[in-house]
């Protein structure tokens, strides 16, 4: 696990949050790591965190752009992209599944 440069500006919503981001399969290889601690502004959504990570990791952006969709899970449960994050949340970014 490594620290990723985040957006640590304090906002009107309160102090920044620390999120545990997890990457799997194609995204794990593209990010070069399986997880990272990411500071984000209070009030951030899953989608904003993902956009931030894509911008910070060109490899991840290429991989993400090549997929039909990305699914999200927060604390082990499927989540929509407009889900508002809480401090300490674990957010997983999941490329299209291909099990079986």
């Amino acid at each position: 696990m490594t620290q990723i440069a985040g957006d640590s500006r304090a906002t009107a919503n309160g102090p920044p949050l620390t999120i545990r981001a997890r990457f799997f399969a194609l995204y794990r290889e593209a990010a070069g790591q399986d997880e990272a601690q990411v500071p984000v502004p209070a009030g951030s959504t899953v989608r904003e965190l993902w956009q931030h990570l894509l911008a910070a990791h060109p490899g991840l952006e290429r991989a993400g752009a090549a997929t039909a969709y990305t699914a999200y899970a927060v604390n082990g449960t499927w989540a929509k992209s407009d889900r508002v994050l809480q401090d300490g949340d674990e957010v997983a970014f999941l490329p299209p599944v291909s099990g079986g």
Binding site: R22, F24, A73, P96, V97
Partner: protein, 152 residues
């Protein structure tokens, strides 16, 4: 007079649902889902094929989000078990690098009669492929590729 018994109406035995690096056994899962009232167990075993879309494959690698995958297997199985009045259903999915011919996934479904068992097993497999967070990487002689990621 012989003892009369009512038709089985017990809730289905759910599980096991596992993502594991261990070699998979069909017999083991059959024994785990069977009940004394079950007359039919249908299983699906996914095997590592030596080709895909015209390209020779030398190995497959599976990766999962284990916590969510186990929960998804449980959820889809509960839905299928209720729809088909199953007596038992269990699923194991393998992770790690697998050689040609190895079993990547086993689904076992127990039911009083065979038609429900076949339909339920096929439906569980379709749901697994569509929803469970597991990913497959194909290894070739000269490279590798994650599946499922093609845009559009």
């Amino acid at each position: 007079m012989s003892e009369q018994v009512a038709p089985a109406a017990a809730p289905p035995a759910l599980g096991p649902f596992e993502v594991t690096a261990a070699v998979l056994s069909v017999d083991q899962l059959v024994a785990e889902v069977a009940t004394p009232a079950a007359g039919a167990v249908v299983t699906f075993a996914g095997l590592v094929r030596d080709h895909h879309q015209g390209r020779r494959v030398v190995a497959l690698e599976y990766e999962a989000y284990p916590e969510l995958a186990a929960r998804e297997l449980q959820a889809l199985s509960a839905a299928v078990a209720a729809k088909y009045a199953l007596q038992g259903i269990g699923i194991r999915h393998r992770t790690g690098r697998l050689a040609i011919g190895e079993i990547s996934v086993v689904i076992a479904v127990a039911a009083p009669h065979r038609a429900a068992a076949f339909a339920a097993c096929a439906e569980a497999l379709d749901l697994l492929k569509a929803t469970v967070p597991v990913w497959k990487k194909e290894w070739y002689a000269d490279g590798s590729s994650w599946l499922g990621q093609a845009a559009g």
